[in-house]
């Protein structure tokens, strides 16, 4: 009986600790990050697959104007980085990491488009804390999450998945990573996907 109780203790303790998501919040955000806790890893069903033509979209950019995916057709490979929500833990340090690898994007003739379902004023305030991002940040706020939904990465709570799509110059999707929303995708995986793009 004693052993059973001991095991119960360990299991209960482990279960209680399991929910604690590790993160290293940057001082740049000065404690203004809202922690939603551990979320369901993936909460949507993809509507596209590798080999499909990437659905086109036109979205407003934080820097002003709009950006259409079709603008890059025949000219550049494109990485779409959907992040779930501004001012949340993992999202807040995903895009600044891409500042370190601009040369790798350049080397593979690739542009990056950051997309969130937040509105422009929120994205403006949030991305200002990240320093200068070299890539356009686009708002998929209205009609709410339409682009995320067309790719099948709109979650049931109105946020998007943490998802990466690599699209070649012909507009064909070559790589998809709908990542566990609680975790940041590793740079090496994305770099590997860029290296695998048709030359």
């Amino acid at each position: 009986m004693g052993r059973v109780a001991y095991c119960m203790v360990l299991v209960l303790a482990a279960l209680s600790l399991e929910g604690a998501a590790a993160l290293a919040a940057s001082e740049a955000f000065k404690g203004n990050i809202y922690n939603p806790g551990v979320l369901k890893a993936v909460d949507s069903v993809l509507k596209v697959k590798t080999g499909d033509r990437a659905p086109d979209f036109t979205l407003p950019a934080v820097a002003g104007g709009t950006v259409s995916l079709s603008r890059f057709l025949g000219k550049k490979n494109v990485v779409l980085s959907f992040v779930p929500a501004a001012w949340t833990p993992v999202c807040s340090d995903q895009w600044p990491g891409y500042n370190l690898v601009k040369d790798i994007f350049d080397e593979h003739d690739t542009v990056l488009l950051g997309i969130s379902v937040d509105n422009i004023p929120t994205l403006f305030a949030w991305t200002n804390q990240m320093g200068t991002l070299w890539f356009p940040v686009l708002s998929d706020f209205w009609p709410h999450g339409r682009t995320a939904d067309r790719y099948g990465v709109l979650r049931s709570d109105g946020t998007s998945e943490r998802a990466l799509f690599v699209i070649d110059k012909k507009g064909i999707i070559r790589y998809i990573d709908v990542h566990d929303i609680n975790k940041r995708p590793k740079l090496e995986e994305l770099v590997k996907a860029l290296e695998n793009l048709p030359k």
């Binding site: 109780a5 203790v9 209960l12 590790a22 993160l23 290293a24 340090d93 320093g131 940041r184 590793k186």
Partner: protein, 188 residues
Amino acid sequence: MKRIMWLVFLAALLPGLIAYTAVRPPEPGEKPPEIVLPAPSDRSDRIYLGAPRTGFFYISDLKIPVVLIEILSIYCPYCQKEAPNVNKLHEMIEKDPGLRGKIKIIGIGAGNSSFETAIFRKKYGIPFPIFPDPDFVIHQQVGEVRTPYFIGVRNRPDGSSRIFYSNVGGFGDPGAFLDRIKQLSDLK
């Protein structure tokens, strides 16, 4: 039955107790956390630290009077912004014959892989070692601090070690910070 109830009660308390002890950053005057690091694969990093060729070592095993530990994340904008300052600090230490060998800098990349720390070092030309901490093990040991976070450790010849500096955020002017390190660590 009473015993089981007690154990269940303790199990419910355990995470809270662990969280309490884990989330508190180290404070000056305290013994530094026992941080274990793998032997650096890069030869110049091993020479810089006097670290072993293989296996693992404790930071406290290094025969260095002052170790400045920077907890960072390559994704953190302030860590990126602070990188040139830390490089400057390193340069000032290495150029001063009275300090060279007495103060060493170690970076810990919280949540970062070795690929990511290598990218960060290359991007900013960082001359001191940065150890990946992909599973946040060390980050949790030091209280899950915000980044960048600097911890100064003073190692004495008798083998004792104490924290003399523990602070979140950038340190500002490298020259003024170096003076502060010397003063707080009582480095002659």
